[in-house]
Amino acid sequence: MENQSVSTDEIVREENLVYKKTSLMTSKALSYCPGCGHGVVHRIIAEVIDEMGIQADTIGVAPVGCSVLAYEFLDIDMQQAAHGRAPAVATGIKRCWPDKFVFTYQGDGDLAAIGTAETIHACNRGENITIIFINNGIYGMTGGQMAPTTLPGMRSSTTPYGRDIALMGNPLKITEVVATLPGTYFVARHSVHTPLNARKTKKAMRMAFENQKLKKGLSFIEIVSNCNSGWKMTPTQANKWMEDNMFPYYPMGDIKVNGEMVKKKEEPKA
């Protein structure tokens, strides 16, 4: 067993490389808090664009929110949109250049609150764009205020005693809403907090970009993410809290594939 003691230096060589940050991510340090899901989603987008070889043909639309500086970190052409208007801007870009790959990157306050009209109508028209929706249940950038997606009883800076359904209404499942519209072709919900989920997200992201080539309609991917600063938790606690509280309300998986709703398996009654 003399080969047991292979030193790290012998393994760390170019020919043994398995995984490296893609060159489509710039070398700038991400402006996000430690443990934020944005970084993983940025990298997944960059990897998919890299693997498809469409760096020169991709145009992203950055939102308003924590990811407002997304164009600093992704080495592709990007456009900044007014708050919530990313699907409208993406529609314009796609109609000018129908052969380019256009995606929007939006948070829940951006997409589900101020930009609901733009989102719903872009989905209903079936524009050939990809919408990437990061749902963390609050307005992260502005200090953790209540968003439409905040869970019942969830504390935020504007609901310090928890969200009261009678006063503030129910959390909005915008992904299920857009799945019912005829314009959407692929709708899915994923997360990036574990290696398995991150790999599933990448697969879905690849599908969403491939659909643009087929010109079938809009692809919509929701990513349930954490906001450990806004939730006042450590990153590990936030991921645990997300699994326990967010996932029952926002279940993972495909909602609409190839323009057909995915039938839910009925749970056996005990």
């Binding site: 043994n16 940050k21 340090a29 991400l30 996000y32 944005h38 970084g39 993983v40 991150a198 790999r199």
Partner: protein, 77 residues
């Protein structure tokens, strides 16, 4: 029997010390350093390098993409 051995290289200055890689590692290789980097974060390091299999789970969940993974097949005699 061939054995797979892995190693990770961490970009210390870009690590933000979120500890997500520590929980993602199936073989319990990664720990956080007691010292801090230029930004004041405790950065990750390989505590137990012999156990690393190069599965890249840590690199996949790292929000800042600071982990580079290497893997080598070692033929045992």
């Amino acid at each position: 029997m061939a054995k797979i051995k892995g190693a990770i290289v961490i970009d210390r200055e870009h690590c933000k010390g979120c500890e997500l890689c520590v929980t993602a590692c199936p073989t319990d290789v990664i720990r956080m350093e007691k010292t801090v980097n230029g930004k004041g974060y405790h950065f990750a390091y390989m505590e137990n390098p012999d156990a690393c299999t190069g599965c890249a789970n840590c690199a996949v969940v790292c929000p800042d993409g600071v982990i580079t993974v290497y893997r080598k097949k070692i033929e045992e005699l």
